[in-house]
């Protein structure tokens, strides 16, 4: 035990290590949590014990977690300033560290080793002879919060790789909310597989009685089953909605086509009617006689186009009546001319 760290009277040093953090047996553990306070409580008890035992602690966490952890350690009687001065308590900002190991948004194994390797070396050098370096890492949780679950899986692999050359006990923690989608289940499985010890979120681990735990598992199984059914039902609803949307789109396209046809059928005879009438009016206004052949052409055109227009109007009105009788609001091709 490091004599400089007087934690012998603290409640923390007497408390048993929280579930999921067994540094001696598990070199790379993972904990899932719902509540930040629960996580900080677990970490502070574990790290107070580690520091009191002469070990070093490396924390790569968010500012709020670093601050809460430091407050709690101090409250529990750990002389954190002294530990920091001795190089036995190293706290790094997770976001900043993540930026350094992911240049251009891509995880760089070399940068990871260059950043974390020497940090562990320093912590090891500052530790007592029998003590192992305890690390809390949140880089992976930040990646998941950004939706980069696969990069988190890769980073967990890099930690395991680093463990071949460095002696440390790493504890990772993920808030359950970063696995909010059904498809995140695969990544969760891979993350669990990358660890030697897994601790479920506190809703399970705080149950002491085995009978309670079994009941909880049964309830969770029921919830999972109900959710799976719900997902299936939603998928079916989604399919129905997509089919209706495509039907609606087709109906709108049919309506646009119908309107374009109707505009053409009405405006084409109107164009001739108006233009021939204006042609004759020009002659009349200029007080010049209209040549008999010109008058005949114009009047024949007007007569024919009036008939065509009347036919178009009749057809349109018929299709409107038929549409109402069918209770169908979308025009269909059989009503178009």
């Amino acid at each position: 035990m490091d004599i400089d760290l007087d934690v012998s009277d603290s409640a923390a040093s007497l408390a048993p290590p929280p579930a999921g953090i067994h540094h001696d047996n598990n070199r790379h553990t993972v904990q899932f949590y719902d509540d930040n306070a629960f996580l900080v409580d677990c970490l502070s008890r574990s790290f107070a014990t580690a520091l009191a035992g002469g070990g070093s602690v490396v924390v790569v966490a968010t500012k709020s977690h670093r601050d809460a952890l430091a407050r709690q350690l101090v409250t529990q009687g750990t002389d954190l300033d002294l530990a920091a001065r001795r190089g036995r308590y190293l706290a790094l900002d997770a976001a900043e560290a993540l930026g350094r190991i992911t240049p251009k948004g891509q995880l760089s194994p070399d940068r990871f080793i260059d950043l974390v390797g020497p940090t562990i070396d320093h912590a090891t050098a500052a530790s007592g002879p029998q003590a192992r370096v305890a690390i809390f890492g949140e880089l992976v949780a930040l990646l998941c919060a950004n939706g980069e679950h696969q990069t988190a899986v890769l980073l967990e692999g890099l930690w395991n790789h680093l463990a071949q050359t460095h002696d440390f006990a790493l504890h990772c923690a993920y808030p359950m909310r970063v696995f909010g989608r059904e498809s995140d289940g695969a990544a969760l499985g891979q993350i669990c597989a990358a660890h030697s010890g897994v601790t479920p979120a506190e809703s399970y681990t705080t149950l002491i009685d085995e009978a309670d735990q079994r009941r909880t598992i049964a309830l969770l199984q029921q919830k999972a089953h109900a959710l799976a059914m719900e997902v299936e039902a939603r998928k079916r609803t989604q399919q129905v909605l997509e089919r209706r949307e495509s039907e609606l789109r087709a109906a709108l396209e049919a309506r646009d086509e119908f309107l374009a046809d109707a505009a053409h059928e009405l405006k084409t005879p109107l164009t001739s009617l108006r233009a021939f009438t204006q042609l004759l009016l020009r002659d009349a206004r200029a007080r010049r006689p209209t040549a008999p052949e010109r008058l005949k052409v114009a009047l024949e055109a007007i007569e024919q186009q009036t008939g065509r227009l009347a036919q178009a109007v009749t057809t349109l009105l018929d299709s409107a009546v038929k549409s109402n009788a069918d209770g169908d609001t979308s025009p269909t091709s059989d009503r178009r001319r």
């Binding site: 374009a260 053409h264 405006k267 084409t268 109107l270 164009t271 108006r274 233009a275 204006q278 055109a301």
Partner: protein, 121 residues
């Protein structure tokens, strides 16, 4: 005065445009669809083209595409459209100008004069 080519599948519209523009002193030829018009243009290139959009055979859109390929912007093309959205329809096919059907003969005459090259006015 301009050489005008009218392309429209409706014979009455071709006829009335021809009569009105000839009254104003223009020379007018006509074609029933895009394909016929392209063949006529190879023989005699008009100063201004009046183009219906909706035609059987080669329609106005296809005519503009082929005309631009062969002749670029040599003659201005005025689209004659019965669409409810005349501007969008005229512009979308790549015409230089448009006239919504039914149009006034005075508006047609003014549009043709505007697009007639200065040396032909």
């Amino acid at each position: 005065m301009a050489d005008v080519l009218v392309i429209d599948d409706d014979s009455h519209i071709r006829q009335v445009i021809q009569l009105a523009l000839e009254d104003d002193g223009h020379t007018v030829e006509s074609a029933v669809d895009g394909r016929t018009a392209l063949a006529q243009i190879d023989r005699r290139h008009p100063d201004v083209i009046l183009l219906d959009i909706r035609m059987p055979g080669m329609d106005g859109r296809e005519f503009v595409r082929r005309y631009r390929e062969r002749h670029g912007h040599r003659a201005p093309i005025i689209a004659l459209t019965a669409s409810q959205d005349a501007v969008a329809n005229g512009v979308s096919i790549g015409a230089d100008d448009y006239l919504a059907k039914p149009f006034d003969l005075d508006a047609l005459a003014a549009r043709v004069t505007t697009h007639t090259p200065p040396h032909r006015r």
